[in-house]
Symmetry: C2
Subunit: 229 residues, 2 copies
């Protein structure tokens, strides 16, 4: 007997539609990356095995290989996501109004915020070092763009008079270094919240640790007037 | 026929004496470390093979194993040497006279100088990440001592009034981050000499990038008097 006809509009396939399947696959891949990145950050890349990643996800290692090619491919994806988060955060911050110093401060906040979170932390704690030369080159090109954004804002700030004249390239590296280090020492489970850590670090980088003359004693900055012109 | 007797004082063994042998062995081990550390810094730890190290030294890989146990053991030794160089440099600098700020500046110079050289650069570019948990713990304990030295000088500087009141622990991390980053971006073959790189980086960390009031307009620092008392 032929199956009884089902009206097209009520029929539902027991298999998910292609779009839902792709979505499910992407979600599962992301779960693999999220699980792996935490292990990388906690134990180190080398000390982490795909067996552990699989175990945490309650699947077998062969199942993982359906979503990711290798441990190196996972790391590449994690560092790329982290760097993309930084790039997006900086692009967003750079659009904020104000002087170049205001924009730079917003970019520094964005950068600091990303390095306290899983993928950003992985950029700093593991980074591209364990990857083959070609992958390292691609990730370094992304990093160079971020450095360039900092440098460009410092140069603008010097021109506006809101940043002290300095070697902008080197100052950009120094800011990036101070901020990146947060990703090394910051413990999300510790007593210090990520925003406070970021603000204190940014205050050191912007103002230095040598005491400043009391504000009332300061000469008015001609530069500040220029910036508002 | 028995060999003709040789007077004891003129007889020289064709084999080196134990002391000379030990010295020769130490020199050769150091040559292995120096060769490996350069490759680690240039290409990355993973991308470096012991075959390449052996090739650069014109020996076979089995010969290397007479001086070092494994690639991991080489890395451990390199990072340990780098951290020891930092620790010694800082201990020496901390003995210099002056205020806590003067001592801190000297320590920052020592730190920056080490990270532009092979073993120090390896601490930053590769670090302990690829090593087993126990080795990482030992190297991190060395790092913690260095952080503690910075923190302690910042606390003294705040008490003396030569450093602006701040979260000393976090400020120490920020200084260490800015200085450590030099080891990432600095190219010994590039146009910038290591001392200039260090001085510019230290200037950013001590003074910040926000312009300061002209020196002539500053109120005298009571702290500076106290420091000299």
């Amino acid at each position: 007997m032929p199956p009884s006809p089902v009206p097209a509009e009520t029929f539902t396939s027991p298999w998910p539609a292609a779009a839902a399947r792709a979505r499910g696959r992407a979600d599962k891949r992301e779960a693999v990356l999220r699980t792996a990145v935490r292990l990388f950050n906690e134990k180190g890349f080398h000390a982490t095995s795909l067996d552990e990643v699989a175990e945490r996800l309650h699947v077998t290692k062969p199942t993982l290989y359906y979503y990711v090619e290798s441990k190196e491919a996972i790391l590449f994806a994690c560092v790329e996501i982290g760097l993309e988060m930084v790039r997006e955060g900086i692009a967003e911050a750079a659009k904020s109004g104000g002087s170049a110093l205001d924009k730079l401060r917003a970019c520094m906040r964005a950068y600091a915020s990303v390095v306290t979170r899983d993928f950003g932390m992985c950029v700093i704690r593991v980074g591209e070092e364990p990857l083959p030369a070609d992958s390292r080159r691609r990730l370094r090109a992304l990093k160079a763009k971020i450095d360039h954004e900092f440098r460009s804002l410092i140069e603008q700030g010097i021109a506006e008079g809101v940043i002290a004249p300095c070697d902008a390239k080197l100052a950009a590296f120094t800011l990036a270094g101070g901020l990146s280090w947060i990703g090394r020492w910051y413990d999300p489970a510790g007593p210090l919240d990520a925003d406070t850590a970021a603000e204190r670090c940014i205050a050191v980088l912007l103002n230095g640790i040598v005491p400043r003359a009391p504000a009332a004693k300061r000469a008015p900055k001609p530069a500040a007037r220029k910036a508002r012109a």
